[in-house]
């Protein structure tokens, strides 16, 4: 497929703007560009067709099954898009006088109240633009808390080795030393390992529950109590909230602050990698440390991005929450869990779950034995799934399972889709025993074959050059 620059023809373009109706003013001497930027020059016809062509080679959750573990690829409702596109929202300047933006404030107040109730928190900010951004904000609450108490000894954040890579990276960005603790054989927090590292230098613990192998840690109250007794705070990574929303509240599990991924649990679209929104909630003792915009609200607080955050994304999440309501929220979680267990039960007998027990909203397949038998890796299986029209599950995560494939179907999949997915996995299991070579070279029917990632890193070409 040609790049847009390869389709560009000098002199082509559209008249989107009228002629200037006031006198032009030249730039001050010495400030002019040396030469015009080489941006594409296209007619709208060709522009439109270029993006149509690009679009053909993209796969979204609204187009097909997308069981990416830990990403909660649930259907993105169209009504959410319609609401976020209302001119009454898109046309509002963030610094307009407050009496003219009461609708935006009502959106934020309403969603704050609902999400505090759902999560068991007392206050919440919507300023963070993504999950990792929310993690950063949440850990900064912990940092400010200890700084305010003059407790400078607390330099360590405890992170289980099953955690998402953003967790330790976030702790480091907040100036903390990361203490990794190994997981117990059942994938949960090893209580003895935790006790061994708790002390006067503990600032806090970062945890997700259910954890990254899809298991609810039944010792959660004990875990948060131990950390509190040591003087630390507990941060909840809300990536897996879809398993428990409306069924269990992080606040009731003993967490002091949390982040949510509105683009996972609350159905806002992923957009190919953003924009999301990483709402951060906290208990009352941390509320004073929440971020605020100096320009929009008041100075003197931390701030993680300009203005109030990804407001239109928040509108989508609010629309979703209002639609589901009191009964719909726990119903979504319960059926996410049911769908995952159902899919797992249909695949079992071929690929083996890493933990042969009831799971939460996602489960991990361990392909290490399968790889020994057939030579076919988790990567090969994932690439062959592409040929079958299914987006592959998450590969090689969490790190505590080898040759891992993590599947999260979500509640918005029908039984037929789950049955079909299980059948595809069963077929690939057989194929690996019959024709492993085919799978080593998959995908065969996609737009491209496997890309040479080594060359991409060694000889980086990161822009088009004419």
């Amino acid at each position: 497929m040609k790049l847009i620059f390869e389709k560009s023809v000098p002199g082509r373009g559209m008249e989107y703007l009228p002629k200037c109706d006031v006198e032009e003013v030249p730039l001050p001497a010495g400030l002019e560009r040396a030469s015009a930027p080489k941006l594409p020059e296209m007619s709208e016809t060709d522009l439109s067709r270029h993006y149509t062509e690009l679009n053909k080679n993209v796969h979204g959750v609204n187009c097909g099954f997308y069981p990416l573990g830990s990403c909660t690829m649930k259907y993105n409702p169209r009504i959410d898009e319609e609401m976020a596109a209302l001119p009454g929202f898109t046309g509002v300047h963030p610094l307009a006088p407050k009496h003219t933006t009461q609708g935006c404030q009502e959106v934020l107040d309403t969603i704050r109240t609902s999400l505090c109730e759902i999560t068991g928190m007392d206050d919440m900010t919507f300023q963070p633009a993504a999950g990792a951004h929310g993690e950063f904000t949440g850990v900064l609450l912990i940092k400010q808390y200890h700084d305010a108490r003059g407790d400078s000894k607390r330099k360590k954040i405890i992170v289980p080795d099953s955690a998402h890579g953003t967790n330790p990276a976030t702790a480091a960005m907040c100036g903390f030393q990361v203490v990794n603790i190994p997981s117990a054989p059942n994938g949960c927090v090893d209580l003895e390992a935790l006790k061994a590292v708790l002390g006067e230098d503990t600032a806090g613990l970062m945890l997700t529950n259910p954890n990254t192998v899809g298991i609810f840690d039944e010792n959660i109250l004990q875990i948060t109590r131990l950390v509190h007794e040591a003087g630390g705070l507990c941060y909840y990574d809300g990536a897996n909230l879809n398993a428990v929303m409306g069924v269990v509240r992080p606040g009731d599990m003993g967490f002091d602050c949390i982040h949510l991924n509105l683009h996972k649990t609350f159905a806002t679209p992923h957009g190919g990698g953003g924009p999301g929104a990483g709402a951060v909630g906290c208990k009352a003792h941390l509320a004073q440390f929440l971020p605020k915009s100096a320009a929009m609200e008041e100075p003197g607080h931390i701030q993680v991005r300009s203005f109030a955050g990804n407001f239109l994304v928040v509108v989508k999440a609010l629309t979703y929450i209002l639609a589901l309501g009191r009964e719909g929220i726990p119903e979504a979680a319960q059926n996410a869990v049911l769908n995952a267990n159902y899919l797992m039960s249909k695949i079992k007998g071929t690929f083996e779950p890493a933990f042969d027990r009831i799971c939460m909203h996602e489960f991990v397949l361990d392909l290490s034995q399968f790889k020994k038998e057939t030579g076919v890796s988790a990567l090969d299986v994932a690439k062959t799934l592409i040929d079958r029209g299914m987006h592959p599950p998450t590969m090689y995560f969490p790190l505590i399972v080898h040759e891992a494939l993590m599947l999260e179907p979500t509640e918005t999949e029908s039984r037929e889709t789950l049955d079909w997915a299980a059948e595809v996995f069963r077929q690939l299991y057989d194929l690996a025993h019959k024709d492993p070579e085919y799978m080593h070279n998959a995908p065969h029917n996609a737009q491209i074959g496997r890309p040479d990632e080594v060359q991409a890193a060694r000889k980086p070409i990161v822009r088009y050059q004419p």
């Binding site: 620059f5 560009r33 951004h133 960005m173 109250l221 992923h270 990804n310 407001f311 509108v315 074959g449």
Partner: protein, 438 residues
């Protein structure tokens, strides 16, 4: 029937049986009973789509949307072509995940590669990342990438956007790095003060061009002073202005960042926006965030992949310089479409007309006795007026459906873009004149 959950009651019972449990509670057997909620979430009942549409639309209706916007300060009301609004609504682009599986996502990866190329063209730089959250975080990430073991201090101009300063301050607080603010003089970074602040511990200097007050900074002179001290130079730029302005590369910047909202994103009460980051080849491996690279596939055809991932959090974990895991993909797509639709000519027009309209407005306002420009320097499309009776002026404008300039300390910060017609500007000036005639 339940919203967005296909399974019927019968199907659910069957599936529970397949799994080997009798009810949902059994699936949650590991949840201690004291925390298991059995109904009773204290939020309102769910709604049908018709009711939800009404409820949220009612909230939107409580906002006053101004057809004429004369306020900027980090959020700019540029004209957005229809096609730029439309393309990011296509379902595939909208509902896809991050393009980790390159074979299934060449469309996204190529669109990001094209966006990266356009940002390089605007800034004069060699490499751009796939975007970060916004201009303020781009500044903070740039400051972080410039720090090393010897040099850890960041200097930031007081003439930068207050939210940028506060965000950089927050990120510096996180890593325990020092941030010092360079004072402004007559609405611009005080070059003499800056020279006095440059020491062996300074990793980087950040200025905004044009700055928060709309003023053009002496970008090259500042760059020379920064480099003479062995520090790195970060310029926060307006991407529409760059269509006609000397590139940050030509001004000596090592890193160019900025707020990409003017590239096709509506005002949206502040978000989602877009942070762009670009740098020279020398510093490529320090750049945080996603980068899309070109390679070949197993058949030798051109292909695009997420590249240089060894910089990132999923590989380096606590050793990563940033925890950033995503970009603002759909906003980067929007920006790419805007830059392609407008092209170099269209963007130059948007820039020139914004500048022309702002100067026209400034001239008309300053004809009114009592109103004058606060700063003596040249400006792009924003300017500050000394304006007693600012409250009365803004109220009168509001009554006429015009969002006037932003009241700041010592004056009012006005903005005009290509979207505002001469007639609207004349109307605004006339209203202000009337307020002063009283």
């Amino acid at each position: 029937m339940s919203n967005f959950i296909p399974s019927t009651q019968e199907e659910r019972l069957e599936m529970l049986r397949c799994v080997g449990v009798s009810d949902y509670r059994e699936l949650y057997r590991d949840v201690p009973s004291e925390m298991y909620l059995d109904g009773g979430l204290n939020i309102p009942e769910g709604m049908s789509e018709l009711e939800v549409g009404r409820a949220v639309s009612a909230m939107a209706a409580k906002n006053h949307v101004f057809p004429t916007v004369l306020r900027g300060a980090g959020a700019y009301d540029h004209y957005i072509p229809s096609i730029v609004k439309y393309i990011p609504t296509k379902e595939e682009f909208l509902t896809a995940y991050t393009p980790y599986q390159a074979e299934m996502s060449q469309g996204i990866l190529q669109s990001i590669f094209e966006y990266q190329t356009c940002i390089c063209e605007l800034t004069g730089m060699d490499v751009s990342n796939a975007s970060v959250y916004d201009g303020a975080t781009a500044a903070a990430e740039a400051a972080a990438m410039c720090r090393d073991r010897k040099r850890t201090v960041t200097l930031i101009s007081a003439a930068a956007h207050p939210d940028t300063i506060n965000t950089v301050r927050t990120y510096c607080y996180g890593t325990g790095s020092e941030l010092r603010v360079i004072p402004a003089k007559d609405g611009k970074t005080d070059l003499d003060a800056l020279k006095g602040m440059l020491g062996a511990d300074v990793a980087s200097v950040y200025i905004q061009q044009p700055n928060f007050y709309g003023q053009f900074e002496d970008a090259e002179a500042i760059g020379e002073a920064v480099h003479a001290n062995g520090s790195m130079y970060i310029m926060g730029c307006n991407p529409v202005a760059l269509a006609i302005m000397k590139t940050p590369r030509d001004c000596g910047a090592d890193v160019a960042v900025g707020e990409g909202q003017p590239l096709g994103m509506p005002l949206s009460y502040g978000g989602p926006y877009l942070g762009f980051m670009a740098t020279t080849a020398k510093h490529m491996r320090k750049l945080p965030g996603r980068i899309v690279g070109q390679t070949v596939d197993s058949k030798g055809q051109r292909a695009f992949v997420l590249s240089l991932q060894a910089r990132e959090q999923h590989i380096r974990r606590e050793k990563a310089s940033s925890n950033i895991c995503s970009n603002q993909a759909l906003c980067a797509l929007t920006a790419g479409v805007y830059m392609a639709a407008m092209g170099p000519e269209g963007m130059a027009q948007a820039a020139k007309q914004s500048m022309a309209k702002a100067h026209y407005l400034a001239a008309e306002l300053c004809k009114i006795p009592g109103i004058s420009l606060k700063y003596t320097g040249e400006f792009f499309h924003e300017f500050v007026t000394v304006m007693p009776k600012a409250d009365d002026v803004l109220k009168a404008l509001e009554k006429a459906n015009i969002l006037g300039g932003l009241p700041i300390e010592g004056g009012v910060l006005w903005c005009a873009t290509e979207k505002v017609s001469k007639a609207e500007l004349d109307k605004a000036a006339a209203i202000v004149k009337e307020v002063y005639a009283k």
